[in-house]
Amino acid sequence: MSTSDGFPPRRRLPPDPATPSGQITPPGQVTPSGWATDRRGFLRLTGAAGLAGAAGALAACSSGSPGSPAASQAAPGGGTTVHEYVPGPQPVSGGRRGGTVAVVWSDPPNSLDPAVGYNLTAWDAITQLVYFGGLMAYDKQVGGPVPNIAAAAPALSTDGKTLTFKLRPGVKFHNGRAVVAGDFIYSWERMLNPTLASWATSYLTSIVGANAVINGKAKHLEGVEAPDDHTLVVHLTAPDFTILNAFALPMTAPVPKEEVERLGNTKFGQTPVGPGPFRIVSYDSAAQTARFERFGDYMYPGLPYLDAVTYRWGVDPSVQLLQLQNGAVDLLGPGIPSSQAAHVLATPALRALTKERPSPGNLWLTIYLDKPPFNKQQVRQALNLAVNRAAIGRVTYGTYTPWGAPFPQQIANFKPVFTPYSYNPAKAKQLLAQAGYPNGFSAVLTIGSEEPYPEIAQIVQSQLAAVGVHLSLNQVSGNALLSLEAAAQNGGGHLQLDGDDWYQVQPTPADEVNALYTTGASSNYNRYSNPQVDTLAAQARATFSETARNKLYARIQQLIGEDAPFVFLLSALWLAGVGKRIHNYQYRGETYSYYDRMWV
């Protein structure tokens, strides 16, 4: 995905988190008894995954339920106390009402329609302003889905294929109407309908009848029903834990039918109506601004603190930094650009305007495995051993960190088992010789023009030359690269190596596995296929216990690491640019900046 305007997005949202549902084999080990029906129990369930250091953080979730003392204890300085548990990074209490925050962006939002918007600017506005999660929302800094518009975690049938949600009463759209179960059915049918051309349809393919709607064979989504206004029943073709992540993402958020029909799809994409903490009051594509104002009837009383959030886009990244420095803006939407990060971190006055947050993204070179020499595993491993990631890290200092393994370095509750590739040119040469290339070979590395690819490509080029692999660089526009990748995925094109990245929108390795590594996955451009990975991935997808499935993902990581379909290079960091006025800046890689709990 990329914008069609001049500035390529720094983050690419996955167009598809999941393989077609038909590939999932219903496993036997689903234990419905593990499903709790109240929010507290649900949190405990997700927290039970508790591995390593994350265990403490997640254990804390279960005490964060409504009315518990934890919520008010979190309030610093005696500001407003929010008497309710709100999903997302904590604390939510302690803020002061009022004020306006100005956010600056590079790209215009591609659309603010939750089913259509995917670029950085759109994602931020949709996930945190006009909408906030869906039935579920992500919990804490790294947690999984917890109830949001749903009053409690869904009741799961014994076969693991039917989820029953009770909706929270009193949730209102910005036009004042209450959210009812029928709104979800309408919104999902609308999203899946091919006429809307939503990028996110595959998130819901495990719902019965979803594929029929996607293919235009049906208008109504067979697998969802609303017995009454506050009950929603979802039938799945097979057990699928990722569906709850999908329900926590704004593509599945409810949109009011009457407003969509009043405004039409295009206009709704500019001035959407949702149940989120801020309502949009103006959108001016000529002046490149949008304004969002506090929604008084927001479902979490006491929030948000800010009166308004303003967007301004079309601003060059280096200008953004100057604006932040002189106080003209409060937040850099795209964060500190990687070309400026080293400078910013080395200058104390600028460093004071940054916040580091985990970011579940990574960056690599895709190896197109169909043709020699890349069809040889030894060659691919040799490439992984021949790059000196520490040297690359010198240039991407502050926004990426060296990481020679599949999946982002930090995923909640996932403990990597694969030993990351390290720099070992001698071993690389030896492997190349074993593969029949003692004198190396030549290849073309194709890259997009957005940073940091040109710089990384030049460094990799000089490092691989040392083991006899001579790369020539072909720099193309971001959109051209996407069409080359699409061609390669269909078995055509001439790509050999290209630079790519992924930012997860689900806090689980499933996000990358189901999109990049399984056979036929939506973004599996190099047509990597390992039957073992496919089997394990399907098994993991139907496993509701996080501990059990993360063990499966660890095995998948090991397999992928050994197969080396990519030259794994870096894992992302998020370096936010935050003005001095901002208090309680909270961020998650999947859902960006939490404006509802921010105050000035």
Binding site: L321, Q340, H343, A391, E455, A457, S472
Partner: protein
């Protein structure tokens, strides 16, 4: 340069050339006008840098440890690195020398190819007339009407990156103007006695074009080519800056500006040095063009120096 300037009445200097202008003085005395001397000296300086580029170091050598500060920023100006280092720890001086070399190679080759194509089109259209003239000159009109940057990006999308691509793009976009110039000049000379005599003696059309018309185009094209070269240098830099020209890691002034732009706030020399080089190279070509024009009585009356 306009078509009008290219075809004044033969043998008469324009009104601006009358009196004691530098050009007229230069013509009288046979000396080079000062603009020509200055331009040539400047160009010679850059040509020498381009030839001696290997003496300034390897433009591709990355020193990610020693060539960057502790926090990964480019080094400033020092004895070891007279112009500092760029964001990958490469010597900025070496890259500048090689960038100048790239620019001059593009300027010279693209200049020759675009003028050759343009002159051929203009000669054929002007001499043979008829449907050929209509086709070629309408094509020329199209060529003149193309938005350069947009058209260049389209062509760039069709080719693989490199020096050849830049030369092809510049040729494809820069041939129309000389074609127009030459066409006008041919129309002026087409019915002169020496042309018609040649035809009367039974010389073939091609022979007449080659022997009698083409030589008359030389003064015109020699004066035009420095201007064309200056445009080519700027356009190469534009293309490389947009990522449609010379691909990294090859040093080119456009690439260096593109890299340096991001570093403006902490290493301004990475932007200013290559920008100054482009300015001076362009300047040298313009001065030479102006000087040559001053020496050509047919063209001397039109001058951007405005005497």
């Amino acid at each position: 340069m306009t078509a009008e300037a290219a075809s004044p009445a033969p043998g008469t200097a324009g009104p601006g050339a009358a009196g004691a202008t530098a050009g007229a003085r230069a013509r009288r005395t046979g000396r080079w006008p000062p603009t020509l001397i200055a331009g040539s000296a400047l160009l010679l300086f850059f040509v020498m840098i381009a030839i001696a580029a290997p003496l300034f170091g390897n433009p591709l050598h990355q020193d990610l440890l020693g060539g960057l500060t502790r926090t990964g920023l480019p080094l400033g100006i020092s004895r070891a690195h007279p112009l500092g280092t760029d964001t990958l720890g490469r010597s900025e001086l070496a890259r500048l020398a090689y960038g100048i070399r790239t620019s001059l190679i593009v300027a010279i080759i693209a200049n020759i190819t675009s003028i050759t194509v343009g002159a051929t089109v203009g000669l054929l259209a002007g001499f043979f007339g008829g449907p050929l003239e209509t086709i070629l000159m309408r094509l020329t009109d199209v060529g003149l009407a193309l938005p350069y940057t947009l058209a260049a990006l389209v062509i760039a999308g069709l080719m693989t990156a490199g020096l050849t691509r830049v030369i092809v793009i510049i040729t494809a976009l820069f041939w129309a103007y000389p074609a127009r110039l030459v066409y006008g000049e041919v129309l002026r000379l087409r019915h002169r006695g020496f042309v018609e005599s040649g035809e009367a003696m039974g010389a073939s059309g091609i022979t007449v074009v080659r022997r009698h018309l083409a030589p008359h185009m030389f003064p015109l094209l020699v004066t035009y080519s420095p201007l064309n070269a200056a445009s080519a240098v700027v356009f190469e830099a534009t293309l490389s800056y947009l990522g449609a020209g010379i691909n990294p890691p090859t040093a080119s002034l456009g690439n260096m500006i593109s890299d340096g732009q991001d570093a403006l706030s902490y290493a301004p020399h990475l932007l200013l040095v290559p920008a100054a080089a482009i300015l001076l190279i362009t300047m040298s070509f313009l001065l030479i063009g102006e000087g040559l024009k001053a020496r050509n009585p047919d063209l001397a009356r039109v001058s951007w120096l405005g005497r």
